[in-house]
């Protein structure tokens, strides 16, 4: 029975999607559902996948993230920890397919707006530059977030300060880059990164004396979604 629990939970999590699709297809659009068989197979895969993923979180990603955080705290070498934080942020972002897609699209927008030449080489260079900018900014974001946990700075000052910078930068940045900048904050945090980074933050906050895992442990993802917005707008200003 215990092994079936994740399956039940996955089924519960997916039911709303099925209901929404059925409702709109049958009652609003009044159209038959195409390829019923393929959809059933697909739903079964989604169900199985979600249940497996959750099990993997419980026995793999969470324990590893935490045990590494404890080991770093015990070792007490801040430089290694910060380097680890940077590489984790940079490494997980630079290969992210969503980011590669967004960067490609952004290059097209920039070429149409006449910011860069419409040649393939110029567009590739622009897309690569943007990708590196975002990856670098996520690395820096995780470093800043880990520093915050170590120093115990209150999160809301950092984030509200960051938002303020975003708002000011929005005023100065070229209009074509703004939508992309806002979106790049969202695409950086992939499904494997989030549990690892969360476990790292919570693990660090629980192993350092005077830190509260609830108050100090969360917040790394907030940094990882905020800093790229600022960096991408800087990138937009520099390239025009």
């Amino acid at each position: 029975m215990k092994a079936l629990r994740p399956l039940f939970e996955a089924a519960r999590d997916l039911t709303p999607i099925v209901l929404v699709i059925l409702f709109f297809q049958e009652l609003v659009l009044k159209q038959p559902i195409p390829n019923m068989e393929g959809i059933l197979v697909g739903m079964l895969l989604v169900l199985l996948g979600l249940a497996l993923f959750v099990r993997g979180l419980e026995i793999g990603l969470f324990p590893l993230g935490e045990s590494m955080a404890f080991a770093f705290a015990k070792k007490g070498n801040v430089m290694w920890l910060l380097l680890f934080a940077f590489l984790l942020g940079f490494g997980t972002t630079v290969a992210e397919p969503a980011l590669i897609a967004v960067a490609g699209k952004a290059a097209q927008v920039a070429a149409q707006a006449g910011v860069i030449d419409s040649t393939q080489a110029a567009m590739d260079a622009y897309a690569n530059g943007l990708r590196m900018t975002v990856a670098l900014s996520v690395g820096i974001a995780i470093v800043l977030g880990v520093l915050r946990i170590l120093k115990g700075w209150p999160l809301h000052f950092c984030i509200i300060g960051g938002y303020f910078i975003v708002v000011v930068m929005t005023y100065f940045a070229p209009p074509e880059i703004i939508g992309i900048a806002y979106d790049s904050g969202g695409v950086t945090t992939s499904t494997i990164t989030v549990p690892l980074v969360t476990a790292l933050g919570v693990g660090l906050a629980s192993s350092i004396r005077g830190r509260n895992p609830m108050l100090d442990g969360f917040g790394l993802i907030a940094f990882a979604s905020l800093v790229p917005m600022i960096f991408v707008m800087v990138f937009g200003i520099v390239t025009t």
Binding site: I17, V41, G56, T170, G179, P195, I221
Partner: protein
């Protein structure tokens, strides 16, 4: 056969996504920390489960939900659906649009935002962790529901913005101001979690469907550019959960206080 190649393709791209992380983790574990991990095989098995699970999940989405969701998004924004028999392709010219005409689009945006966020794997992860760390004071399900409601409201407002053509930054600035005020009043414990929820909502499930909806809207409404207006729905989906999670904490604190004061009156 095509199932197998699709599966291998998804598996490979998931693997490529994970290799840099694995290199960093292993490198530090072996070269810097040099500490034995407890139950290494169990952890390894966990990684394989997570990878396999994610690949199956994505493959299933691509087979079942994305194609249908995208078709539905384009159909709902199609003038032929919106204006019924009054509209004839190539004959009718839409001169003015009323935001009320798009009622079904907002309802769809709301419900699909709610439903997909509930199934978002990274949000499930953060919810599990929050419940564990808070000792059950924050329930994983309550948090996920709060985030999903935030996404739902944000996305429908985002569609309204595309239809009316008002400036994106106006909404975002107002939203930030609301977030700042809420931060001053919300229970301290929830703030980091609320800020994190903004980042986790926009990954595997929600983004492709939202992008289809945004692009469909921007492409069919005269005077909107898919490039400028199509983007930006995701920004809405990241800010509104911050508000809804803080609101959830505020409401549960009020309920708690009311319960406490009632008990005191009774005793």
């Amino acid at each position: 056969m095509s199932h197998l190649t699709l599966f291998l393709d998804t598996m490979l791209s998931t693997l490529r996504d994970v290799i840099p992380i694995a290199v960093v983790l292993l490198g530090f574990q072996l070269l810097v920390l040099r500490q034995k991990i407890a139950h290494p095989w169990r952890v390894f098995r966990g990684f394989v489960y997570a990878l396999l699970g994610l690949a199956l999940f994505l493959m299933g989405l691509q087979k079942a939900i994305f194609p249908l969701g995208e078709v539905m998004a384009t159909q709902l924004t199609n003038p032929a659906f919106l204006y019924g028999e009054l509209y004839q392709e190539g004959v009718t010219v839409i001169t003015s649009i009323h935001w009320q005409d798009y009622a079904w689009v907002y309802v769809f945006a709301f419900s699909i935002g709610l439903a997909t966020t509930l199934a978002e794997p990274s949000l499930i992860a953060v919810g599990m962790k929050a419940q564990q760390v808070s000792g059950g004071a924050i329930s994983a399900w309550g948090l996920r529901l709060a985030v999903s409601l935030g996404v739902a409201v944000g996305v429908s407002l985002g569609c309204f913005r595309i239809v009316t053509g008002t400036d994106l930054w106006l909404y975002i600035v107002v939203a930030y101001v609301v977030v700042i005020f809420q931060t001053m009043w919300a229970p301290k414990m929830i703030i980091p979690l609320a800020y994190d929820s903004g980042g986790v909502t926009t990954s595997t499930v929600t983004v492709p469907l939202l992008a289809a909806l945004g692009l469909g809207l921007a492409a069919t409404i005269p005077g909107r550019s898919p490039l400028i207006d199509g983007f930006g729905l995701i920004a809405f989906a990241s800010v509104f959960p911050i508000m809804s999670v803080m609101a959830y904490a505020q409401i549960s604190r009020w309920q708690e206080q009311r319960r406490v004061s009632k008990v005191e009156e009774g005793g």
